[in-house]
Subunit: 209 residues, 4 copies
């Protein structure tokens, strides 16, 4: 298994997952219910768009960070393939988690759990990313393409650890309000997607500074 | 991040989005309603096919132009990755916008908004394409693979600006008639897809001369 | 645009289309209607499996032949990109045509049209393939990677022309019986997929000898 | 046809199939039935998650093993392309088989057949994998990139043969209990995915030691 093929397959899964998100945005079946306009119905679906944009940007950032991480690698071992597969699973499941979040955000029952599942999926994704980074940087550094000083490797690793924090907070706050959870996930996505934070975004998971 | 990987991921997203469009073409559930033939039902679905072909050709053209644009680049910076992600989002959302257009074109309510959302998505796509082109050609020209004279760079950029115009018109005319909007988008797609206009099609977004 | 990128994008669209076919195979919603076993219900869905296998093999063959064709090319011109886009559209639409065929095969109304649309899509695909081959081999031979004698180029082209014939017959016979149409398409798929006919399969569309 | 393109197309199909699995995880439509919580409903769907994880890991392992196998090859012949297409078909059909398993596991009718279809699909996949391996290692060894001693080739082949066994047992035991079938398939997936068994996992199908 070469690093190139690992990247190509990961790219494929991530590209399909990010594009499948659109299937969650349903067209309201015409004709519209009496007294409702399409504008009303579409506007009422705002949680769908908010969750879509948040998930799209987050997957986009994890894709960028995934490449930065894998590019450091000379050749993967079986543990890296396994951890990468788990990371891909947490990404591939996002169309479901996003749909759940969007469908229950405005409900009076189930909204807290839906939000917890949503940010919980990001949390698991960030944890797998960090574990993969740890294995690569601290456990098997001899597999790196170029030697990196221990100090620098630790620094990169700790950055991806800090990336876990906002999702842990967002998941905990799902008990309080699903809006807060979605807001934190959206803020994290916008913060790392925006080019201002470019320095850090290239060294960790979706959520790292 | 290399230009090659940026292209591969973009190709993946665009290939999935263009192929997912087919999910909008629903098979009428048998048995058919009494007194209706399959030919009648399928023929009545013509907005679905018209929107499908228009979106398919438009995504095909944007794919061609995307490569022409990215091929000029030596190495992307974070701003390019971010703008490219926004461009991909506007493409990935097209299966929804296409479905909305097709479902509401013949309705007596919601048809104007549906058409505005449809051409509006193309408009946003063309705007992101132009912004990306501007960043690449005029803001960060030192990232180009080969030096291009300022005069020529401006020319390429202005071409992609003009590509925005038909979609702006189509979106405005959605207030008048959704048929006009679909007609303009279809005409733009056919015009740039057809090899006669090959000179210009290789320098801009879907809509540029 | 390089030949490599043209192949990669075409591969992407073909890989997505061939895999999306599975969405046509629906799981019967449990609990089953009284007095029916799952075996009965699944067995009654045999047109779905027959159409699935036929379409899967046919797309697989067209993928093989597409590469043999494109590999001969040094660099595509705009006409080739355009014809290739039309070819990809005819492939991308196959999940719909396959679903239509499967859903109406056993119906007493609409079955002839459904079969005609199914083999008609293959016919259009074979025609686009032949047109693309003609452009490449006879109109723009200077774009070939290696010089091929006119005699040989004509031979390859005529082979892809003969590939159109079975689909034309299958489409005409849809008026008589949809079973005959599906049978011909399935026979063509099996004939070209099977390694016995390997000599010819590398020179044309799904249906060529 | 080069080995590289064969890998790229196979990667594409496998990446799409593995990601499409998520479409089987449906969000329960809000509002929830009276007296039910979202936690209850989601927890009741555990067969969906169990089948999802099992299929995801199994496809991931077959992807790894597919590369190990194809990397040995210098250039594919038509038989290899054909067998590979059949292997891809057995993988592409997994989203359906997974859905069937998940939907019927807890039913009192159809559950045995559903389980047999599920592990039967893995069985067919393992058989195609073994057949492909046999053709490559024992029938056409002159197509290998590097010469491998007969002894070693036989060893690799027999490993993929043993990979068929657990799926044969799981399929037979579907008559007894669908839970046992799912349990065996899950155990096989976890066993080969886990890095502990890394030595063998790189030489055969999903199920080989």
């Amino acid at each position: 298994m070469t690093t190139g093929r690992l990247e190509a397959f990961s790219d494929g899964v991530i590209a399909v997952a990010i594009t499948l998100l659109v299937l969650n945005i349903q067209v309201p079946a015409p004709p519209l219910p009496h007294g409702k306009t399409l504008a009303h119905v579409l506007a009422g679906n705002w949680p769908v768009y908010a969750a879509y944009i948040t998930s799209f940007l987050t997957i986009g950032i994890i894709w960028i960070n995934h490449h930065v991480m894998i590019r450091r690698l000379r050749e993967p071992d079986h543990m890296i393939l396994f951890l990468n597969l788990l990371l891909l699973m947490s990404i591939a499941v996002l169309p479901f988690a996003t749909d759940l979040m969007a469908d229950y955000l405005k409900q009076s029952s189930g909204q807290h759990l839906a939000a917890a599942v949503y940010s919980g999926t990001f949390l698991v994704m960030a944890l797998f990313f960090t574990t993969l980074n740890r294995h690569l940087l601290l456990v098997e550094p001899q597999r790196l393409r170029e030697e990196i000083p221990l100090e620098r490797r630790r620094q990169i690793f700790f950055r991806s650890v800090t990336g876990v924090i906002p999702y842990a907070i967002a998941t905990a706050l799902a008990l309080v309000s699903p809006y807060v959870t979605l807001g934190i996930c959206a803020a994290v996505a916008v913060f790392y997607a925006f080019p201002i934070s470019s320095g850090g975004a290239s060294d960790g998971a979706a959520a790292e500074p």
